[in-house]
């Protein structure tokens, strides 16, 4: 099946821009949609056509399934790319596209449903012979000890109806089990009105490794290697890299083979990510992310592929455009997510108008960005501004280039995660490639170095002097610039 002539991008920000670029490369006409506040956003300006979404609410529009299908039909788009977030893993949206004769660039509704049900996916994966984290079903007081021995210590007691960390208790030894069980049941009853609990193996300091797969409607499944994503905060990834450091060839081979097995077991289609936890050399399936992922560029950089282009081809019914033998990873790639958050203030969102930006450039640097000078960072959307990806022939070259890129990157108007990244890539555990999911806990944004304090004092006094010189009237009345303009206009009238 040929590529669509026209494609609608049902997203915003950096990922919408990324998808538009793939379409440009493929000669596909693009349609952007936007909420009122995004009227002049980069994804709108880059598309061939841009249409407003109905409604005044900033977030609602991008989630309006009926409106998106209607707009796509009206402007003759043969495909919709949902990006990530919003409707990307929504089975009924995928079904609505299909019903309207529009190719949904992602897995079919049945696969999205399966991947969204963690228990069902886990059972299918386990049946396919891929290790999952040892766990139990709901346990009663009489059988808990036997179930616990089967799961192994340390373990977690979790509420069946739970969420948000409530009712979770860590149990390190059999002696602690009865007390912890009593507490967990009580909390589960209070918080969720359901006293049922189950057990799950606790991994102390796991590493997060995931495998990119691409699958087509003809039974073809190809993996594009793995990514390491252990630099996280509150389960949000901050830095990703490919390949994964500190993984032996034997474990890597087993991971990649398992990921393909998972894709086949779930009858997966399009691009997806199979996530694993690594504990030493043991690994356990966690879940499948049934979408294009934020961190896909690191895989593109080492494999020389365009995952978005492959997604669009596969969605049109084509086989995966390359074979497993064609995938020959080369070099190393690292991605830092640049978000409008204050790393010195608990990573709280930083809102404001961006009044200046210098993006890094040069050899080995790719910046996927969805903002520009003049953009307002509002509370309505994800704080991700851009991604800096550094490629090198080896890991140390990639780190050196990332160091250079982060030093060049200047964003004025909001706080960003750049200072965190500058810290992270200098840490011994990161440089050695031995970091795990608790790495980011060591970030202490509160204690600046003496040298930084000395330079800050110099910068502050220079800044104050400069401002004093620029405001001779001590801040009263209009600034010089506005006066210039006013007088110049009057001169023109005369």
């Amino acid at each position: 099946m040929p590529l669509p002539r026209r494609l609608l991008v049902a997203n915003r920000g950096e990922i919408a821009v990324r998808i538009l670029r793939a379409c440009r490369d493929l000669g596909i006409e693009t349609v952007a949609v936007h909420a009122p506040v995004d009227a002049g956003a980069p994804h709108v300006c880059l598309a061939d056509r841009a249409l407003p979404l109905p409604g005044d609410s900033p977030a609602e529009g991008y989630l309006n399934r009926a409106a998106l299908v209607e707009i796509a039909s009206r402007c003759g788009a043969g495909a919709i790319h949902p990006g990530y977030g919003f409707l990307s893993e929504n089975p009924s949206f995928a079904a609505a596209c299909e019903a309207a004769g529009i190719a949904f660039v992602g897995p079919p509704a049945s696969v999205l449903r399966m991947c969204g049900d963690k228990a069902e996916a886990r059972a299918a994966v386990e049946a396919a012979g891929v290790p999952v984290l040892p766990g139990s079903g709901p346990v009663d007081d009489a059988e808990v000890r036997r179930a616990a021995e089967a799961v192994g210590f340390p373990l977690l007691i979790k509420a069946v109806g739970g969420g948000g960390g409530k009712g979770i208790h860590l149990v390190r030894s059999p002696d602690d089990l009865p007390g912890a069980l009593r507490l967990a049941r009580g909390e589960a009853q209070t918080a969720f009105g359901d006293p049922r609990v189950y057990l799950e193996r606790w991994v102390e300091r796991p590493r997060h490794v995931e495998v990119q797969v691409l699958a087509d409607a003809h039974g073809g499944v190809v993996h594009l290697g793995e990514r390491a994503c252990s630099v996280q905060r509150r389960h949000q990834k901050l830095i990703e890299e490919a390949p994964a450091p500190g993984v032996s060839p034997r474990v890597r081979e087993a991971l990649l083979e398992s990921a393909v097995r998972v894709a086949r077991a779930l009858r997966y289609r399009n691009a997806g990510t199979v996530e694993f936890l690594l504990d030493g050399d043991a690994f356990f399936f966690i879940e499948v992310n049934a979408r294009l992922q934020v961190e896909h560029p690191v895989t593109e950089m080492i494999t020389g592929t365009d995952i978005v282009a492959a997604q669009i081809a596969v969605a049109g019914g084509a086989p995966v455009p390359f074979s497993q033998e064609d995938v020959r990873p080369a070099g190393w790639a690292i991605e830092c997510r640049i978000s409008a958050e204050d790393p010195h203030g608990g990573f709280l969102p930083s809102l404001g108008r961006i009044d200046g930006v210098i993006e890094p450039q040069g050899p080995g640097i790719r910046v996927d960005s969805g903002f520009r000078t003049g953009c307002v960072v509002s509370r309505h959307y994800d704080p991700l501004l851009s991604k800096v990806v550094a490629w090198g022939r080896d890991r140390s070259e990639a780190i050196a280039r990332m160091r250079r890129a982060l030093a060049e990157y200047a964003i004025s108007g909001v706080d960003t995660t750049i200072p965190f990244h500058r810290w992270a890539i200098e840490q011994p555990a990161f440089l050695r490639g031995t970091y795990d999911v608790r790495f980011a806990e060591d970030w202490d944004g509160a204690a600046p170095s003496q040298e930084a304090e000395r330079l800050a004092a110099v910068a502050a006094s220079a800044w104050l002097r400069r401002r004093a010189a620029a405001q001779p009237r001590d801040g009263h009345g209009a600034g010089p610039a506005s006066r210039w303009i006013a007088v110049a206009r009057e001169e023109g009238i005369r």
């Binding site: 010195h344 961006i354 009044d355 200046g356 930006v357 210098i358 000078t373 030093a407 060049e408 200047a410 964003i411 004025s412 108007g413 706080d415 200072p419 965190f420 500058r422 810290w423 200098e426 944004g445 600046p448 170095s449 930084a452 304090e453 330079l455 800050a456 004092a457 110099v458 910068a459 502050a460 006094s461 220079a462 800044w463 104050l464 002097r465 400069r466 004093a468 010189a469 001779p472 009237r473 001590d474 801040g475 009263h476 009345g477 209009a478 010089p480 006066r483 210039w484 006013a486 007088v487 110049a488 001169e491």
Partner: protein
């Protein structure tokens, strides 16, 4: 203008002088600090009367206090009144001075018009009061920062300048 700079409550010796430059880099907050021949990208953000200076991975909170009275204040405050100096915003030629000594002015009233590079710019009074003295005449060349007029303000008048 003199400032007292404090980090973690401790006054800092403000290194200054010819070796220190702050060059604009991006927007209103990103600069290149040049100190003793070394260049450092910095971000300076003003927030609630303090400066947040980001250097590399570090952020330093800098407290700021005027070490002396505002420089645009006159040195004396006699008879319960206060004076503001109106300074030339740039070097140029004085085109007109539409006010005379003794006249009342409002905040924002034009005290003089200066011309440079074939463009004219208004120089305004920072506060309501009376013109105490005119120190620039039409046709005169003035230097940037040169005092062009003194405005006398009653002490009871709201003083917007003090908080800035």
């Amino acid at each position: 203008m003199n400032f007292e700079i404090r980090i973690r409550g401790q006054a800092q010796a403000a290194e200054s002088g010819d070796g220190v430059l702050l060059e604009p880099l991006a927007g209103s907050e990103c600069w290149t600090l040049v100190v003793a021949g070394r260049t450092v990208p910095v971000r300076v953000r003003e927030q609630e009367g303090r400066l947040l200076v980001t250097i590399g991975a570090d952020r330093v909170e800098v407290g700021v206090r005027r070490a002396s009275a505002s420089s645009s204040r006159g040195p004396s405050a006699q008879n319960g009144a206060d004076r503001f100096e109106v300074r030339a915003p740039m070097p140029g030629l004085v085109v007109t001075v539409p006010v005379a000594a003794g006249e009342p002015v409002r905040a924002g009233s034009v005290v003089a018009i200066v011309e440079a590079m074939k463009m004219q710019m208004e120089v305004v009074s920072p506060a309501a009061g009376h013109v105490e003295e005119i120190r620039a005449l039409p046709g005169q060349e003035v230097a940037g920062g040169q005092v062009m007029a003194l405005i006398r303000v009653p002490a009871s008048a709201p003083d917007e300048g003090a908080a800035r």
